[in-house]
């Protein structure tokens, strides 16, 4: 089975996100980029599917940071077999429509049975890449999926609705899946292994064509002006515990 995992690097959300000078985007140069957390799950699910049914896993991304190789090497260390980088003039923060088009063009020539993407990324202002890749390739798509099992040219996927309710679907391959969570938490790749792979791994280079464009223009980017903000309690754990306990008592919620 030929499994392809398109990945996307996004700003590290634990960093302070600064808005650029003209107020229409992030100050990307000031940010550290990491792999979208749902892509970590897509990679894990791909490796699990390969382990269960055999095949190869190819991880592919648009190099918007100049640092994509790090993410690709990590994926290889986790069990992916091949890696590919789409190159071109695609800066940090390249929109989803452009990345999806570039990825779809590259993935088409790989003739995948299964394409596993992360269900969403924190910077998908113009939409998630999974359904877009599926539309470009003319393949069926199911997202918000927490489990994929492949058998006899078909995939059984579990899609999450609210409250723990799930829909089970049977899909004839090839298909594109938006992975919400893998069957098990993403495995850890030891740094030593990633370093070793970085020395020997071959990463295919694919020249990207033009940017598709988001089709919409950001006029203003800003931090939300919260309708309210928590009243902050100063002090260490003892003082804060004291305040919380007092409030619980005041609300009559202390047992006994």
């Amino acid at each position: 089975m030929n499994i392809v995992v398109p990945i996307k690097q996004i700003p590290n959300l634990t960093d302070e996100l600064e808005i650029n000078g003209d107020g229409t985007g992030l100050d990307h140069d000031a940010l550290q980029y990491v792999l979208n957390e749902f892509d970590e799950h897509a990679i894990e699910e791909a490796v699990l599917a390969k382990e269960a049914a055999g095949g190869t896993v190819t991880v592919i991304g648009v190099d918007t940071t100049g640092e994509l190789d790090g993410a690709l090497h990590t994926a290889l260390a986790k069990g992916a077999d091949k890696a590919a980088r789409i190159t071109g003039d695609f800066p940090r923060g390249t929109d989803s429509h452009t990345q999806a088009k570039l990825l779809a063009n590259a993935i088409r020539s790989l003739s995948p049975d299964l394409v596993l993407t992360g269900v969403q990324a924190a910077d998908d202002r113009d939409g998630q890449i999974g359904p877009m890749i599926a539309a470009h390739l003319g393949l069926p798509y199911v997202g918000v999926v927490t489990g994929v099992a492949v058998k006899d040219g078909k995939a059984i996927v579990h899609k999450e609705y609210a409250g723990g309710l799930m829909g089970e679907f049977e899909v004839s391959l090839p298909m594109v899946v938006g992975v919400q969570a893998a069957h098990q938490p993403p495995r850890y790749a030891p740094v030593s292994k990633v370093r070793q792979i970085a020395k020997t791994a071959k990463i295919d280079e694919i020249a990207g064509d033009e940017a598709a464009g988001a089709g919409s223009t950001v006029r203003r980017m800003f931090k939300p002006e919260a309708a309210g903000h928590a009243e902050m309690w100063e002090g260490g754990p003892e003082e804060v515990a004291e305040k919380i306990a007092a409030l619980i008592k005041e609300k009559g919620l202390l047992k006994g």
Partner: protein, 323 residues
């Protein structure tokens, strides 16, 4: 192009989802500004009665056995055909489990821009501006479509639901049609619904919840939260990463794909406050957030907050409660 607003209504297990009413209400307002009509679209099988609850200018109900349950491919095909046929100015889809399978694909097949994670929509002099909530709720981006027509996917809870219910004075015209496209050859087949496990404590029934997020650090620390919950006579609930990791059962998850809780006190420890989490707990009476990051979005919805380390706070609070 028409000036109409096409709204995809959702239903699950015989119930129309609130997002449908929320978008219908907002869509009607926008349609007035555009000089068009708000048309709610519902897909189903024998579900005309559900469609009749939508307070749009008109309701288009598409009936086909293949639409009895949500099917991304069937829904996608029907919507693409309707968009092609009616050329609406604006297509509104929920940024929900269902809508997330549709909006981005429709954007490509219909060749329309998509603005996703939308929690604000305004028509300024007839032109649309959409505000998206991105980067885990830390950033808002206000954008305009490059052309006139576009698709938006709307966050749950962004607009009032009551404005979109049928009410006095508004009796929408209900038009029932058969599917405009064949649905017999779908690659996606709905198999069954899998109900959530039962038998665990019901976190929606607790007056107080000790809720923990990724800040708990690891499975070995779960017992610190459990001890506090025990002292309070309640249960530990959690954000998604904690249940995904298997540190707590799925029945304890609060949020978009988990449960919606409204306790008197919600203790949010080590939870950043991603929109998908807030969806499940913002209705709590009092929210107390503890997070080492003073800029965490959770503090924008919490009533009280502190920036100490939850791993120090948990045992300290347990002591105080027991005393």
């Amino acid at each position: 192009m028409s000036n109409d607003v096409l709204i995809l209504a959702e239903h699950l297990k015989g119930k129309v989802s609130d997002i449908s009413f929320e978008m219908t209400g907002k869509g009607r307002q926008l349609a007035v500004a555009f000089g068009g009509k708000a048309v709610a679209v519902m897909l189903g099988s024998g579900a005309a009665a559900l469609a009749a609850t939508l307070g749009a200018d008109s309701v288009l109900y598409v009936d086909d056995p293949a639409l009895a349950e949500f099917n991304p491919q069937a829904y996608g095909r029907v919507l693409a055909a309707l968009i092609n046929d009616r050329a609406p100015r604006l297509v509104m889809v929920g940024n929900t489990s269902m809508g997330m399978d549709l909006a981005a694909g429709l954007s490509v097949t219909a060749g329309l821009p998509l603005m996703a994670y939308v929690n604000g929509l305004a028509a300024e002099g007839g032109a649309l501006a959409a505000t998206s909530q991105i980067y885990g709720g830390k950033i808002q981006a206000e954008a305009v479509p490059d052309g006139e027509a576009c698709v938006v996917s709307c966050l749950a809870g962004a607009f009032p639901a009551d404005a979109g219910r049928v009410g006095a004075g508004l009796v929408p015209a209900l038009e029932q049609i058969a599917s405009p496209v064949p649905l017999a050859d779908l690659q996606i087949k709905f198999v069954r619904m899998i109900e959530p496990q039962s038998g665990d404590v019901d976190i929606t029934q607790q007056p107080i919840l000790v809720s923990i997020g990724r800040g708990i650090g690891g499975q070995e620390n779960i017992e610190l939260a459990q001890e506090l919950a025990e002292a309070l006579g309640t249960a530990v609930s959690a954000s998604r990463p904690v249940t995904d990791a298997g540190w707590l059962p799925k029945t304890r998850q609060v949020g978009k794909s988990g449960l919606t809780v409204k306790p008197k006190i919600y203790l949010a420890f080590g939870i950043s406050g991603a929109p998908e989490h807030l969806e499940g707990m913002r209705g709590a009476e009092t929210i107390i957030a503890v997070n080492t990051d003073p800029k965490a979005p959770i503090f924008d919805v919490a009533h009280y907050g502190a920036t100490c380390d939850m791993l120090d706070l948990l045992p300290a609070l347990t002591e105080k409660i027991k005393a």
